[in-house]
Amino acid sequence: MWPAIGHTGNSSQMDTGWRPTASIELLRIRAAWLTKIRSFFAARDVLEVDTPVLSNASVTDPNIESLLTTVNGKRYYLQTSPELYMKRLLAAGSGPIFQVAHVFRDGEQGRLHNPEFTLVEWYRPAFDQFQLMREVSALVSDLTGREIPEEEVRYLTYTELFEQHTGLDPMHENWSALNEFCASRQLHCPVDDHWEGAMDWLLAMVIQPVMRGLVFVNDFPAAMASLAKLDDNNPRVARRFELFIDGIEMANGFEELTDVDEQQQRFIRENQQRQAAGKPLIAIDEAFLGALGAGIPETSGVALGLDRLLMWSLQLDHVTRAMSFSPFVSND
């Protein structure tokens, strides 16, 4: 067989790729989902808000890269999620709020990733993470039109998830156990100096591919807390959860950190990690810290990937098939 080397594609093609990446039929379904989302939250008295895409600060998370643009000669970040603005609304007394937001993350591109995508993000004062998980299930059920009986939803801690699939304990750094596991499966872990990174690799390469059904994973390690509160009884874990459906990560939520000093420390620590990794430093959102200082109510919040849920529900082969267009993929 002639190897597929030096293949340059169909050069005779004169199509400029003007067509949408999604079918019109899909776009009708997407529009119906947006209507359902609005009635879902209207029925629950959750206010729709619409915060700016641009901000003069962003998240410091070392694994999320913000895009920058210039306006009137000054640099602004494109939001990686509407979280910081939405929490400022909570501090200003908005009560429960939701938003359907376009968000931007540099460097994320693949079957499940597009640098621009849509999040459904909402905040529920007085909810704990488990109440919010149940509301996520209800919305997923509403949108996909599938009954999701509570007994079919699995709830696992991060530790349980890893123990079930690998026998490894992710909470305790143990490189020889990891190496033994990799050797037994003939795998090579590309991360050998950063335990959380190695766990990310295990999750993505070994565990997610075999996960089935709806699984809520919670009690993430404190080092992966992001903007979540730590557990009062066990400060090694954060009150953060993720929803996986058939191994695809669909939603990320947490009981929000409300302590301004702790939040400031995390921003600084994450910027130090960025510096050590040679990544650009991110301007810390002083206005957001100001809001935390003024006080936000005890709240749980979550972001759900709308495009991915559509992709899964309609069995599309690429996330951009759930979007009208993407300048980042060639459409032929």
Binding site: P3, A4, G110, G197
Partner: protein, 189 residues
């Protein structure tokens, strides 16, 4: 040689891994939402054709492989090397048994082959998908036994042995699919 970051990975890109040239067959970006990003790739070793899976941390860099895909005419074999000529530049290269591998049994002089060069040296030779070769040896066909799918072995001018219908005789020119090593039909000169 240029080096490539994982963000430039795509199928068809030739890279160096552990000192050997590989072709990227498949590339998938994977990333836990708040975690480290990875590229999972399937790569084919251009020397032995083996496909392996490998994961890179996103942002890692690898060296490109100086690999060229060329179309060359097969000239002759001197017993040790197979000689080819670039149809565009008339440059000549010689391929050793390692590079030619099983393809040697389908190589007929003046046929156009796909030759992969690494640092200017052939590392893989692919014959055309179909070649016409003459039968040099086969048992005599049985008269009247032209139907019913009976087969027998036949040796071709290159030394290859293929299974052919019973009516095939010595001196017949046959069209062979080199990808499967199967007889297709009788061919005209």
């Amino acid at each position: 040689m240029a080096s490539y970051s994982t963000s430039e990975f795509k199928s068809g890109l030739k890279i160096m891994l552990d000192g050997e040239p590989y072709n990227i067959v498949e590339n998938e970006f994977v990333k836990p939402g708040k975690g480290q990003a990875f590229n999972r790739v399937k790569v084919k070793n251009l020397k032995n054709g083996r496909v392996i899976e490998k994961t890179f941390k996103s942002g890692e860099k690898v060296d490109g492989a100086d690999v060229m895909d060329t179309t060359m005419q097969y000239l002759y074999s001197d017993g040790e090397y197979w000689h080819f000529m670039d149809e565009a530049t008339y440059e000549q290269v010689q391929a050793d048994a390692m590079a030619v591998g099983d393809s040697s049994q389908w190589l007929k002089e003046q046929d156009t082959c796909n030759v992969i060069l690494w640092d200017g040296v052939p590392i893989s030779v692919e014959p055309p998908n179909f070649v016409n070769l003459t039968v040099t040896e086969t048992d005599p066909g049985l008269k009247g036994d032209t139907a019913q799918g009976g087969v027998k072995p036949a040796t071709l001018e290159t030394g290859a042995v293929v299974r052919v219908p019973l009516f095939i005789e010595i001196g017949d020119l046959l069209k062979i699919d080199t990808r499967t090593g199967e007889y297709v039909s009788r061919a005209k000169e």
